[in-house]
Amino acid sequence: MKKRIFITAMGAISAIGGNPDEHIASLRAGKSGIGWVDHLTTVHRRDFPFGEIKSSNAHLAEKLKLAAGEYSRTALLGLWSVKQLLDNAQLIPDERTGLISATTVGGMDQTEHYLNDYLQGNHLELARQHPLGYSTEFIARQLKFKSYRTTLSTACSSSANAFILGSRLIRSNMLDRVVVGGVDALSAFTLNGFNSLMILDKQVCKPFDAHRQGLNLGEASAYLLLESEESLNNSNRRALAEFSGFSNANDAYHQTASSPEGNGAFSAMSMALKEAQLQIEDIQYINAHGTGTANNDLSEGRALERLLQGKDIPFSSTKSFTGHTLGAAGAIEAVIAVLCLQNNFIPASLNHTTAMPELDIEPLKNNKENIPLKHILSNSFGFGGNNSSLVLSSVKSTYED
């Protein structure tokens, strides 16, 4: 039998809150974090809304009690949530505690301002922070991790894949517990990249809506502590949820587009359910990837339709609250799933008015409270055809059954 993996602590920061409690409060209040930016430097600051975290780098560094210096926002946001997680878990990392962090922008938030300075020998401390692996190693050093640490980057499914790798390391007895998650700061580089692809909405995004125009970029970091049952029993922590199934499958279709039938998405979801030994009717809520782009929502919508087969299981995209946080999306949505399981709550998709003509299904329009939730499916799909689905399960059922 496979070893059970539990989620025993979390840390998160995004446009809708600086910790998990603030996230559930914002979701319940229907309060989106998407709006005009204050901190991102770009000529497009009034062309597109963003899910920006309303703290400057200086403020974050001060709160984190860091020595004076220049820091990439990615490193700062990453440290914020892992530190919070360790505080919540009352955990000092030992030889059996790993760290897997995902990111897609790394130190680009600084390089886009200082590239020419680097080439003149200035701001080299920031140049050092450019590679994707830097923020992971920075977090590990700051918080004195002693063991396995690595960085994954598979575009927008990056941090979901950190869960997959993390649980494999626990099941293989390489580690007892591992902090998994991801971080991405807003950057002009990604903004202009997505703009050149013409998939940014000039207004708030409308996932799964007939009139959707694209996505809103956001920034976040989110980390969860995965732990074996044995490790959990030997600690003072309690399980917040169980991580019961996952899958990573490749669409093998196109570099930036999903297949119109959503084959990769369908296979990722089906295999994750199979891995969790569940049927689709066991799932009470699906947190969709739902970026708000024409391509993703059609492809994912068709895959969902195939999976649901007419069953009325609510789904929504919380990217309408946080924006699309790229490498952090899988982890921030996993944090949201755990909060939903704990609070018997399902968040609505914001800004949805009109059903897509191609689909018979629609995202949830209004929040649902007091819904006993046992299992949630959470999707993260990325460029390169990279599709991941995670199943998160309530631990309440363990005691009730």
């Binding site: 680009m108 080439l119 590990a140 640490r149 690595t150 499958a249």
Partner: protein, 357 residues
């Protein structure tokens, strides 16, 4: 940990020799530059020109090397693909970034952006090979190829997959090279031709695209096998490395004397290499030590070159002289090579490669 990764086939586009050369070169001469560039195949021989025009250099290196590593195997579609790349497609990244800066965020075309993501390489392989299984890209600043190997070993141990296509790809780039020079990381001109070990405090910038096709079961095709893999993180004391290495071989039921050669991932920065050098001297392994980063250069996924080289040495039962600046002891039949790698930080990987014939 014990592993059973059978190396069925491999391919390397590297600074040492042409990809098509099956045997290791018997002679090697340093170029005298502090940038080790790949000897590249004629991509036209492998990629139709219409397709090649839309592919960046790193993507061509990846595609050709990966295909070469599976062309003589029965692999129709690899069940998993992992690519380790520290810096990813940095030329495309810088191209998009420079346009963004010079055109003040206006009139940008998406091609360079699409090609800039780190998982462009693994994603491209998935599409090209129609490989629908797990597709990961490891991007840590050190040991990332070894992390990809570990993941593969665990999946094979769990019987999740029977085969895997695993590679390491990093390319040099003029701007990044300049920045590394300004940081004082790279060798000065006088030292560029030195064979390791040296007393220098700098390394050569490097690049390669190296792929391995691995299977979990023994077969006559597998001439070598990765039979052990482990890591030790965040250490700065000699004693910690010594203990970790002792434990590694003990867990594999062997002793240091059973190992014929040690392939050392010393970068060339003597200060960063200290722990490995001290261990080598303590165990009196000077004449069994082989170095490779004066050839491959140092970069975040450079261990793959060390693994490829080790595997070739065992296969051919021959050690080229250019792998150590001092003398190398002879060995009749090479059975085992221990690869010890680091990338200038305080994390270390240990890989045992064995003769499987």
């Amino acid at each position: 940990m014990k592993t059973n990764l059978y190396i069925i086939s491999s391919a390397a586009i590297s600074p040492l020799q042409a990809m098509e050369e099956d045997n290791l070169r018997s002679e090697w001469t340093a170029t005298g530059s502090n940038k080790a560039l790949c000897i590249e195949p004629n991509y036209k021989d492998y990629i139709p020109s219409i397709k090649a025009r839309r592919m960046s250099r790193i993507l061509k290196m990846t595609w050709v090397s990966a295909n070469r590593s599976i062309e003589n195997t029965n692999a129709i579609i690899p069940q998993m693909i992992s690519v380790a790349t520290g810096m990813g497609c940095q030329s495309d990244t810088l191209k998009f970034l420079e346009q963004l800066i010079s055109d003040k965020e206006k009139y940008l075309k998406p091609t360079a952006f699409i090609n800039s993501t780190h998982n462009t390489l693994a994603g491209f392989l998935a599409i090209g090979l129609k490989a629908k299984g797990q597709n990961f890209t490891f991007t840590h600043s050190d040991l990332n190829f070894e992390h990809a190997l570990l993941d593969t070993a665990l999946r094979m141990q769990n019987k999740e997959v029977e085969n895997a296509l695993i590679g390491a790809v990093d390319e040099t780039n003029n701007q990044t090279h300049r920045i590394k020079e300004l940081m004082g990381l790279l060798r000065k001109e006088d030292n560029n031709k030195l064979i390791l070990p040296t007393n220098d405090e700098a390394y050569i910038d490097g690049e390669a695209a190296i792929f391995f096709y691995l299977e979990n079961t023994n077969s006559p095709k597998a001439k070598t096998k990765i039979s052990g893999l482990d890591f030790k993180y965040a250490i700065n004391k000699e004693d910690e490395l010594n203990k970790a290495l002792l434990l590694f071989v003990k867990n594999l039921n062997i002793e240091f004397k059973d190992i014929d050669y040690i392939v050392l991932g010393c970068t060339g920065d003597y200060k960063a290499d200290t722990l490995i050098e001290k261990w080598k001297e303590k165990e009196q392994l000077q004449h069994k030590s082989l170095y490779f980063k004066h050839i491959s250069g140092e970069y975040m996924s450079s261990a793959a070159f060390g693994l490829w080289l080790s595997s070739k040495i065992i296969e051919q039962n021959k050690v080229p002289k250019y792998l150590n600046s001092t003398s190398i002891s002879a060995c009749i039949t090479i059975q085992r090579i221990l690869l010890i790698n680091h990338n200038g930080q305080s994390n270390y990987s240990f890989t045992l490669i064995e003769n499987n014939e």
